[in-house]
C-alpha cells in the first residue's frame, strides 16, 4: 500500500459519515428552523409593522411598542399578570419545596410511591384540571352546595371563583408537580452529614437550613421558580375560565387580539414585551438568589 493511499483511507469514511450525520439531523433541524425560528422572526417583523385600511402593511414603526408599554389597559394587564403569576409561582414552589423536603428527608421509605404520585399528577391534564375547579368552586358547585345543605351558609359564596385568588390557586394546582421535580432532583444531592455537621458546630435547625440545605437546593428552587413563572405569566386558560374581571392577565389580551381582532402587529408587540418582561424577572430573581445565598 503506498503512503498516499494509507493517508487517504480514513478520509473517505469520514466524509461519508459527515454526509450521514447531516442526513440524520436534518429532519429535526429543518423542522425547527422552518416552524419555530422562521415564524418567530416573521412575528418579530410584524411587531414593527402596522395595520392600515384593514390590511397589514410593512411600514416600519415603533408605535406598537410604545402602545404596549404606554397604554393604561396594557399596563394594568401586565401588572395583574405579574401579581398573579408571581404569587402562583411562589405558592407552587413553596408547596413543592415542602413536599420534596418531606419526601427526601422525613418519609424516605415512601420516596418511590410519592414520586410516582407526582408523575401521575403531572399527566392529569392541564385543561381538565382547570375546568374541574369550576365544578368545585362554582356558584352551584360542589363546595357551595355542600355548605348550603349542611346549613353553614344560606347563600352560595360568590367569592370562590372569578377573582385573582381563584386564579392563583388554580395555577398553583397544576404548577406544583412541575416544581417538585427540579427541587427533588437537587435535594437528592444534599448530603445529610453536612446538615448534621452544621448542627454539631452549633447551628440551630433554622441556621443549618439557611446555611447548608438552602444554598445547596437553590439551583433547583430557581429552576422551579423560573419554570412556573414562565408558564403562569403566559397562561390563557386559567384567567379565562376562573379569573373573572380582576383576574385578567396579558395572555388573554394576546389571545383575543389574534382570535377576535386583526391588529396582529399590536398583538405581536405585546407578545414580545411579555417575553422580555418574563426573561427580565426570571434573570433578576436568579441573580438575587445567587447573591444572597452565596
Amino acid at each position: 500500500m503506498s503512503s498516499e493511499a494509507r493517508a487517504r483511507r480514513p478520509l473517505a469514511p469520514r466524509l461519508r459519515r459527515r454526509g450521514a450525520a447531516a442526513a440524520q439531523i436534518s429532519p429535526a433541524a429543518l423542522f425547527v428552523l422552518a416552524f419555530a425560528v422562521a415564524p418567530l422572526v416573521i412575528f418579530l417583523l410584524y411587531s414593527f409593522w402596522k395595520v392600515s385600511n384593514f390590511e397589514i402593511v410593512s411600514e416600519w414603526n415603533l408605535g406598537n411598542y410604545s402602545e404596549a408599554l404606554g397604554e393604561e389597559v396594557y399596563r394594568r394587564a401586565f401588572l395583574n399578570t405579574l401579581r398573579i403569576a408571581g404569587s402562583a409561582a411562589l405558592l407552587a414552589t413553596l408547596i413543592a419545596y415542602l413536599f420534596a423536603h418531606a419526601m427526601r428527608f422525613h418519609l424516605r421509605r415512601w420516596q418511590e410511591p410519592l414520586l410516582f404520585c407526582v408523575i401521575v399528577a403531572l399527566f392529569s391534564g392541564y385543561l381538565v384540571r382547570i375546568f374541574a375547579w369550576r365544578t368545585l368552586l362554582g356558584e352551584h358547585g360542589f363546595i357551595n352546595e355542600t355548605l348550603l345543605s349542611i346549613g353553614i351558609i344560606n347563600e352560595p359564596l360568590g367569592f370562590l371563583l372569578y377573582n385573582r385568588i381563584a386564579a392563583v390557586v388554580v395555577l398553583a394546582n397544576f404548577l406544583v408537580p412541575l416544581a417538585i421535580l427540579p427541587i427533588y432532583g437537587v435535594l437528592q444531592n444534599v448530603d445529610e452529614r453536612e446538615v448534621l455537621a452544621a448542627r454539631d458546630l452549633g447551628c440551630g435547625p433554622a441556621g443549618a437550613f439557611r446555611r447548608v440545605t438552602l444554598p445547596l437546593a437553590w439551583p433547583g428552587i430557581a429552576a422551579a421558580l423560573a419554570l412556573t413563572f414562565i408558564i403562569a405569566a403566559a397562561d390563557y386558560l386559567t384567567p379565562t375560565l376562573v379569573g373573572g374581571v380582576n383576574g385578567t392577565m396579558i395572555g388573554q389580551t394576546i389571545a383575543t387580539t389574534f382570535l377576535d381582532s386583526f391588529d396582529w402587529p399590536a398583538g405581536a408587540a405585546i407578545s414580545f414585551v411579555t417575553l422580555a418582561l418574563i426573561l427580565l424577572i426570571v434573570a433578576t430573581v436568579r441573580l438575587l438568589g445567587n447573591r444572597v445565598l452565596r
Binding site: A20, A21, A23, Q24, I25, P27, A28, A29, F31, V32, F35, A36, V37, A38, P39, L40, I42, F43, Y46, L98, F99, A102, M103, H106, L107, C117, V118, I119, V120, A121, F123, S124, G125, Y126, L127, V128, R129, I130, F131, A132, R134, T135, L136, F142, N144, E145, N173, V176, I230, I231, A234, D235, Y236, L237, G251, I254, L259, W264, G267, S271
Partner: protein, 261 residues
C-alpha cells in the same frame, strides 16, 4: 426523629389531596346518574354513552388520535436522527444545537401558537390537520431528543465499534446493536409524546381551523355552559394521558437506567 414525622405525613397528605382533587371530581361526576354537577346521586355510565353517540365528540376524539399518531411517528424518526448526531458532536456545538432545539419549549405555548397562526397565514397554508400536527411536533420533539439523547450518552461506544470491526455495515450496526439498546427510550419517548399531543391545547387553539381536538372541544363546551357529558370526555382524556405517562415513566426509571452499561 420518628415522633416528629407526623407533621410531614400530614403535609404530604394535604398536598396530595390538593393535587388530585380536580381529577377525582371530574371522574366522579362523569359517573354521576343525575345531571347535577354538585351532588352525586348514584353510579351510571349514561354520560359515556352520550359521548359515544355524539358525532361532535367522536370526530374530536378521532382528530386527537390522528394528530397524536402523526406527531409520534415524526418525532421517533427525527428525534433518533438528531440525538444520534448530537451525542457525537464536539461539546460546544452540542450545547449550541441543543439549545436551538429547545426554543419551542422555552417560548411560552401561547406565543408559539399566535406566531404559527401569523406564519401560516403569511405562507398561505390553510389551517388543517397538517397545521395542528406541526404545532404538536414543535413542542414534543425536544422531549424526544432529550430522552433518546440521555439513553445514547450512557451507551458504550465500544459496542458499536466492535460491531463495525466484525464487519457490520453502518445500517446493520444500527439495526442490530443500537436500535435494540435504545428501544426502551424510544418506546417511553413515543408514549410521552403521544400523551403530550393528546393534552396539547394552547397551540391547537390557534392552528386547528376547524379540525377540533378533544381539548379544544372541551374548551368550546365550557364556554357554552356546563354539560355533564364534558366530565365523561374529560375522563377519557385523563385516563388516556395518565396511563401513557405512567407506563413511560416506569420504562424510563426501570429499564432505561439499569441497562446502561
Amino acid at each position: 426523629m420518628s415522633e416528629r414525622r407526623w407533621p410531614w405525613i400530614a403535609l404530604v397528605a394535604v398536598v396530595l389531596l390538593f393535587l388530585f382533587i380536580p381529577a377525582v371530581v371530574v371522574v366522579l361526576f362523569a359517573f354521576n346518574s343525575s345531571d347535577s354537577t354538585s351532588e352525586f346521586a348514584g353510579f351510571s355510565t349514561r354520560w359515556f354513552s352520550s359521548v359515544f353517540e355524539n358525532d361532535e365528540y367522536m370526530s374530536a376524539l378521532e382528530n386527537s388520535l390522528t394528530a397524536a399518531a402523526w406527531t409520534t411517528a415524526f418525532d421517533v424518526v427525527a428525534g433518533v436522527g438528531a440525538a444520534l448526531v448530537l451525542v457525537r458532536l464536539p461539546r460546544r456545538l452540542t450545547t449550541f444545537l441543543s439549545s436551538a432545539f429547545l426554543i419551542p419549549i422555552m417560548v411560552p405555548g401561547l406565543i408559539i401558537g399566535v406566531a404559527l397562526l401569523v406564519f401560516f397565514s403569511k405562507i398561505e397554508l390553510r389551517l388543517s390537520m397538517t397545521t395542528v400536527v406541526i404545532g404538536h411536533i414543535l413542542v414534543t420533539l425536544p422531549l424526544m431528543i432529550l430522552i433518546v439523547g440521555a439513553r445514547l450518552e450512557r451507551l458504550d461506544p465500544a459496542l458499536l465499534e466492535a460491531a463495525r470491526d466484525l464487519g457490520a455495515g453502518s445500517w446493520t450496526a444500527f439495526r442490530r446493536i443500537l436500535l435494540p439498546m435504545i428501544a426502551p427510550a424510544l418506546i417511553a419517548g413515543g408514549l410521552l409524546v403521544f400523551a403530550f399531543s393528546l393534552d396539547e391545547f394552547i397551540i391547537t387553539l390557534f392552528t386547528n381551523g376547524g379540525t377540533t381536538t378533544v381539548p379544544v372541544l372541551i374548551f368550546a363546551l365550557l364556554r357554552r355552559g356546563l354539560d355533564p357529558s364534558v366530565n365523561a370526555i374529560a375522563t377519557l382524556l385523563l385516563v388516556g394521558t395518565t396511563l401513557l405517562g405512567v407506563v413511560a415513566a416506569r420504562i424510563v426509571s426501570r429499564r432505561g437506567m439499569s441497562l446502561g452499561h
